[in-house]
Amino acid sequence: MYSSVRDRPAAPATEAVSPTEPVAPGLGRNVGLLGATSLLTDVSSESVNAVLPLYLTNALGYSALGFGIFDGIYQGMSVILRIFGGLAADRRGRHKEVAGFGYGLSAACKLGLLATTARVPTAGVLFLDRTGKGVRTAPRDALISLSSEPQKMGLAFGIHRALDTVGAFIGPILAFLLLWFTPKAYDSVFVVSFCFAVLGLGVLACFVRNPPRERLRPARAPAFTRESTRRLLGNRAFRRLTVAGALLGLVTISDAFIYLVYQRRTHMSATPFPLLFVGTSLAYLLLAVPLGRLADRIGRAPVFLAGNALLIVCYVVLRMSGPGVVPIAVILGSLGTYYAATDGILMALASEAIPPDLRSSGLAWLTTATTAAKALASGLFGLCWLWWGPNGAVSWFLAGMALAVPVAVLILFHPSTGREVPAR
């Protein structure tokens, strides 16, 4: 759910603009406008995300297994869709329209949540919402890259992601305030979320401009060609990273389940539930840059593995948690630190291992593999909850993580790895 998983530019279309070609005047402000669109849209989507676990299990009566399956698909969808999302826009040069369709679809789905309170249709609406996210991400990133000077592209994406993150921060706080004003009124969250989504779409529709046609060239090759796949799978360092990432993902408890277990173990009411999301984001925001620097200094693999080891602490405290500030601070702090230590850093590790021409498809592969593993883990956790209750399920995943971390150490630091994984 954090920056790389949430909104990593699938493959910034740097190739589309030759380094000497200046950006058409007036396009530069696209970056800020798209940032505003993303901010508003993230307020919208994250306010809904923060109430979903309780809304689905508590109000709509999803079972633990049902929620696990839902959560897995929901998380996995946007990443998998994103790989294909960019193609249509690239081919026809209509980035703004394709992105607008994605934003519009997600906005409409917020109203869909009001229209039904049946379990299966609600899941359908939420999956459609995710489809909208998958559709819009790649064309939006292409718009950003086509609207900024090549040498300032890093800054452009930085500005955009910062605004995006601010939105993700405001969303759960907004949900909390709405539930505080009217307890259990999930519909007020959905309606306000819809309004923010419409405003985000409004910024895009009214102010963002498509780059002129002549600037558009095929931005990138499709992520999964037979040739790139063959070469990637032949790359031992990449293979090891993928296996280690997927293995760790398979024993990771999704955030939604961590919060649900905590809510069950304490007698927390629905109103402050969204604030759990804010706590994790806060820890992530504070630590992402320092831990990135640390990884550059002492090596990325150790930081990545230590981040996963921190989940063991998180699960132990979760397993024993009760009411009080200390357990929840440790749970949210360790969870946020885990994201800060692993999320971008796994991508950096992979970027080192993969030759430049395979990088975008390699990152797409890796993200898909880890996301698929985490999606499967959500379903598994739901199944464990059904059989052994929330405490038993946490215990199993705790045991799994305690086993997987040493195995991942062995995989990443295996002597035969040589210098392929720069563990330094």
Binding site: G61, S63, K96, E97, G104, F190, V192, C195, V198, N210
Partner: protein, 352 residues
């Protein structure tokens, strides 16, 4: 809301109409958002004014109560949270809304009990006893969030269940307080936790006893049924106000509600689908002669103490958090399909 038509003109030329369009969109969104939040705020007791507004042309409560009727908590916008009455012959019609705000209420034989969270800010919870005129006769402080209320068929005894900690039966840990009241005077007759608990002639003791959801025997109002929660079990207990003891009958029964003929109990049953710790409930009816139960046709999550409309139909509220809660009814033998009884209302009690 679709994307605006595409123009390739420079920003300046088409700028002004677009800015205006966007400003209009902003105004619209802010209006819709704030309007809807205030609308749902009407469902919240927190946002209530001191008095409910009665829709023009609505029937008077007295006229409706002359015949068989339903007493509910009205949850429609603008008058949400106030006691309202409807003729049993037209439960989907216009409610006659009173100016008595309640979180949960019940009435039998002209004796009403209203669990309210409208006390002062530091001590908001109270129980209000009222008559057919909806005027307060007496009130007492309550130690927590209102949950269940019942009155015996003869109007003599009332009961209240509140959450002392937690605010929902679905929360991992909660603690309840269930009291029995003298309806005429508002005297606190008993806290069920003072009663002795018996299981097959053996007395049980545990500090974790929680009682909730009393229902009185229509043929003998000092006899009642309730739920006893202890060590993860939810027992149906049969109790007596004179001997001040309760007997455990069986496990897995919450919020019992006796049928008018006193032979069956409608209750909410934890579903296994959610596992032991992700509780959702399904309505079921138990035959007191055999202690066997069968599920009702309602498959949605029901967290309510049901009310019998007659010996073959039970009514209950469903609250999904989207829109106001509404009262549905379904056949007590498990046949048929549930139907909407009273839109935008909960806490039903029937006067036949």
């Amino acid at each position: 809301m679709t994307t605006a038509p595409q123009e390739t003109t420079p920003a300046g030329a088409a700028g002004r109409p677009r800015v205006l369009a966007f400003v209009a969109l902003c105004v619209l969104c802010v209006a819709v958002g704030i309007g809807y939040v205030l609308h749902t705020g009407g469902r919240s007791d927190r946002a209530l004014d001191a008095k409910g507004s009665v829709a023009a042309g609505a029937p008077s409560a007295g006229a409706v109560m002359a015949g068989p009727h339903l007493l509910v908590r009205d949850m429609a916008t603008g008058q949400a949270g106030y006691a309202g009455v409807l003729p049993l012959s037209d439960p989907g019609g216009t409610k006659a809304v009173t100016d008595l705000p309640c979180a949960r209420l019940y009435m039998a034989a002209g004796n009403g009990i209203c669990l309210s969270d409208h006390g002062d800010i530091l001590d908001p919870y109270k129980v209000v006893f009222f008559g057919p005129d909806f005027k307060e006769r007496a009130e007492k402080a309550l130690p927590g969030v209102p949950s269940r209320a019942r009155v015996s068929a003869d109007g003599k005894y009332g009961s209240s269940t509140v959450f002392v900690t937690g605010d929902s039966y679905a929360a991992g840990a909660f603690s309840t307080r269930t009291s029995i009241w003298d309806m005429a005077t508002g005297t606190d007759l008993a806290n069920l936790e003072e009663f002795t608990v018996w299981d097959n002639g053996k007395q049980l003791q545990s500090p974790d006893f929680n009682f909730w959801g009393v229902t009185f025997d229509p043929t003998n109002s000092s006899h009642f049924y309730a739920t006893l929660g202890t060590k993860g079990h939810t027992y149906l207990v049969s109790g007596d106000l004179t001997t001040r003891k309760v007997d455990i009958l069986r496990d897995g029964v919450e919020c019992p509600s006796l049928s008018p003929d006193g032979t069956r109990i409608a209750f909410k049953q934890r579903t296994s689908a959610g596992g032991a710790d992700l509780p959702t409930w399904r309505l079921a009816v138990l035959d007191l002669a055999t202690l066997h139960d069968h599920p009702l046709a309602e498959t949605r999550n029901v967290d309510d103490q049901a009310e019998w409309l007659d010996n073959s139909t039970v009514a209950y509220a469903i609250d999904t958090g989207v829109g106001a809660p509404s009262i549905y009814a379904t056949a007590a033998d498990g046949s048929g399909t549930p139907h909407l009884l009273v839109p935008d209302a909960d806490s039903p009690s029937v006067a036949r």
